[in-house]
């Protein structure tokens, strides 16, 4: 397992709408990569393009340097945004069938289906029809169908949407495990906190163009420093007005979230806070992914 997914200069238009506009990025193996963007940014079109499910007017998708085709797609796993399963088919057979279509032998497909259904906690529903399952369990079946042939590349469009915390944990755990096993994992989501927890790298697109890419750590370190300060008796954080170069981005529950200018010394801020009252919290905070996202797509 292992490989590199490269998207180079993808372009796709629908009439006057430009869905993909010279979009290029790479996705390395061994990492969970978050694929972010506002609605209509081109995420689903990009994912479909990886599987040849949409026309490209320009650009190329490569896997390990080779333009992708039928042989590569057999080794990819795909979970579309609008879930695609046969409603009246038995869960176990459905997963097994999709494994066979990806080239697995009968025995391998059967044991792999059993394994993934167990791992996702739905082995007891193997003989149920898909339509009889809850939304969350259907989601798990869909993921099992994408995983059954142990793909080199896993592309998941909104895999966590509508799941309860237990479902999110189960699927998140599987994604991280697959990445550790050397799989290339790319998934889209609007749940930025979850993406921040699960991903090592994120790619943010808007209007079909790449706007930000990098590791979560790098993105968090960049930009202005942030402090969370709580001063007893000053729930409105009035004391911050006395410190030049400090702006308040949010005051919540008595805690002020501050953005420090480059020239501001944090010691000065601490002294100003202590002068205003008893300081119960003084914490440097990483830039959150949601802030990175908002800044990127503004």
């Amino acid at each position: 397992m292992g490989g590199l997914l490269e998207l180079e200069a993808l372009r796709r238009t629908y009439g006057s709408l430009v869905a993909l506009d010279d979009l290029s990025f790479t996705v390395p193996s061994g990492q969970v990569v978050g694929f972010l963007g506002p609605n209509g940014a081109g995420k689903t079109t990009t994912m479909r393009a990886i599987f040849g499910l949409t026309d490209l007017e320009a650009g190329v998708v490569r896997w390990d340097g080779t333009p992708v085709g039928r042989a590569q797609w057999k080794r990819f796993g795909y979970m579309p945004e609008e879930r695609g399963l046969y409603p009246g088919m038995l869960v176990g057979e459905q997963v097994e069938y999709l494994g066979r279509l990806h080239g697995m032998s009968p025995n391998d497909a059967q044991s792999a289906a059993q394994k993934w259904l167990e791992q996702l906690g739905i082995a007891d529903r193997a003989m149920s029809k898909v339509e009889a399952l809850s939304h969350g369990n259907q989601q798990r079946v869909q993921l099992a169908a994408a995983l059954v042939h142990e793909p080199d590349l896993l592309v998941l469009d909104e895999p966590l949407a509508g799941l309860d915390p237990a479902g999110i944990d189960a699927i998140g755990r599987v994604l991280v495990d697959r990445a550790r096993a050397g799989c290339c994992v790319l998934f889209s989501s609007h749940q930025l906190d979850l993406v921040e927890d699960l991903c090592e790298q994120v790619i943010i697109i808007d209007h079909g163009r790449l706007v930000v890419t990098g590791t979560v750590d790098d993105l968090a370190r960049h930009g202005a420093r942030r402090l969370v300060v709580r001063v007893e008796g000053d729930r409105a954080a009035e004391w911050t007005r006395t410190v030049p170069g400090v702006s308040v981005s949010e005051v919540s529950g008595g805690a002020a979230r501050l953005v420090l200018g480059d020239e501001v010394d944090s010691d000065v801020v601490l002294r100003a806070a202590m002068a205003a009252g008893r300081v119960t919290q003084f914490t440097f905070e990483r830039r959150r992914l949601s802030e990175v996202f908002r800044e990127a797509v503004q």
């Binding site: 940014a41 689903t44 599987f51 026309d55 695609g84 057979e93 997963v95 069938y97 066979r100 059967q110």
Partner: protein
């Protein structure tokens, strides 16, 4: 002997039902055993949830068929899903019951034994009259029993009371209880309708002074043969069989094409097609679906025809009597060719829709050529006089599946004409498959509104991959 055949057919049907039921139960038991084993191995943390069994996927599911390619796997899924469906199984049993009833009921009706017609003879015994009554009974397929009546009064009394059905008075008058309507088909009416003119002729012979030998000689007269200058066509089969064949082809084509239409639409509506096309080519997916449903269709057709012949042979029915192997083979060939031609058209249409109402809108225009060909063929099969237009339509792929079997049934085509029609149909099917696959590739991934032909003409840039709709993001 016939009773044994009937018993065998009934036993086979019952055995099949019992086998299927036991197999289902075994499946449930195996699942439960597997669940228990799985639960034991997993321990308390993986206990059975809400009473459902924890099971391995069934061995007779998609794990077998080791050497099937993508088309074979898709076809296999179609076959298993269709055959397992309750609607299919119940529908097949209902069709078999209808076919069985259509063969058995007329036979039972024709075999029902009725009481002989009691014919009272008033007057002196007359061997010629006795012979004539027996002859009339044979001609009208009615058993007769003659009873000598001492007087006209006693005969009338017996007829009135029902002790006699008919009374013949002195060989020149017939008495019945009730007058007959013009279309009466009772045994008494049938007998009298033959007996009355025969008695009239006998009476005329006697009045003309013919001797008994002369009367017998005249009675044995036979019609002279009629020789036509044109060769008489060999009508190897009955018109009825041709009509039944056309009706079966129509019903089966309609049913199986609807399966294709609905199947493609449902795959598109459930978005499973997106997952499938990430693994297989559109042509493979469509080919597998068409092949799978085609195999189910042929299996069902062979079962129905085989059952009809078995029952017909068992009871000695003449419903299929005279049906030569040529017509049977012809009808099966044209069922296959008809399915092969139309299935692509219905698949292409199904790929443009993703809702039930959209499918219903499509179904009517698609069925028009089938309906026209069916009605025209039924008319010709009944009349036995095909026009030039009908003979031309027997070579036109959309109408040939109906028209050509009728011409075969009427023994109006030579083997090479049949072959030309088959070749033309195969060529038409190839064109249709190419055309339909193109539409399918472009339409099946477009979601939202129903895809129109105009949308399909506006093709995007060429790419080996399937086409897709506007992404949702």
């Amino acid at each position: 002997m016939r009773a044994i055949y009937i018993l065998i057919v009934v036993a086979v049907v019952l055995a099949l039902r019992i086998f299927l039921r036991q197999r289902r139960r075994q499946g449930h038991r195996r699942d439960a055993t597997s669940a228990a084993t799985s639960a034991e191995q997993a321990g308390p943390s993986e206990a059975v949830d809400d009473g459902r069994a924890s099971v391995a996927p069934r061995r007779d599911g998609f794990g077998s068929g080791a050497h099937l390619g993508s088309v074979g796997l898709v076809a296999r899924r179609e076959v298993l899903e269709r055959v397992r469906g309750r609607i299919f199984r119940i529908g097949t049993i209902i069709i078999l019951l209808i076919v069985g009833a259509a063969i058995l009921i007329p036979k039972i009706h024709s075999n029902s034994t009725t009481a002989p017609q009691k014919v009272g003879i008033v007057g002196a015994p007359d061997p010629t009259l006795t012979q004539l009554v027996r002859y009339s009974g044979k001609q009208s397929q009615t058993a007769v029993q003659m009873i000598a009546e001492p007087s006209l009064a006693s005969a009338e009394s017996a007829v009135r009371s029902g002790a006699l059905d008919v009374a013949i008075v002195n060989g020149d008058r017939i008495i019945v209880n009730q007058p007959f309507s013009a279309n009466s088909s009772s045994d008494t009416a049938s007998l009298v309708q033959v007996l009355a003119p025969e008695l009239g002729v006998l009476h005329a012979y006697q009045q003309a002074g013919l001797s008994l030998q002369q009367i017998e000689h005249v009675a044995q007269a036979r019609a002279v043969p009629v020789q036509s200058l044109q060769a008489t066509p060999v009508r190897g089969v009955t018109k009825g069989t041709s009509v039944i064949g056309v009706v079966l082809i129509f019903l089966m084509l309609t049913q199986y094409n609807t399966w294709i239409l609905m199947g493609v639409m449902q795959e598109k509506a459930s978005r499973v097609v997106e997952v499938l096309l990430a693994a297989v080519r559109p042509a493979q997916l469509l080919g597998g679906k068409v092949l799978g449903i085609g195999l189910v269709a042929m299996g069902q057709a062979v079962l129905i025809v085989g059952f009809a012949f078995a029952v017909s042979k068992a009871v000695g029915s003449d419903l299929l009597h005279g049906t030569g192997p040529v017509l049977l083979l012809s009808e099966l060939v044209w069922l296959v060719l008809g399915y092969a031609f139309y299935c692509w058209l219905y698949a292409a249409a199904g790929s443009t829709a993703e809702r039930q109402d959209q499918v219903q809108t499509l179904a009517l225009p698609l069925s028009i050529p089938i309906l026209v060909a069916y009605i025209y063929s039924i008319t010709v099969a009944s009349s036995g006089n095909p026009s030039l237009l009908f003979k031309v339509l027997a070579y036109f792929p959309p109408t040939a599946p109906f028209a050509m079997p009728v011409l075969v049934g009427l023994s109006l085509v030579a083997w090479w004409q049949f072959l030309i029609s088959v070749v033309l149909s195969i060529a038409g099917t190839a064109v249709m498959a190419w055309f339909a696959t193109g539409i399918y590739r472009r339409a099946v991934l477009r979601s939202g509104q129903r895809v129109s032909l105009r949308d399909l003409r506006n093709r995007g840039p060429r790419q080996s991959a399937p086409r897709a709709a506007v992404g949702s993001s």
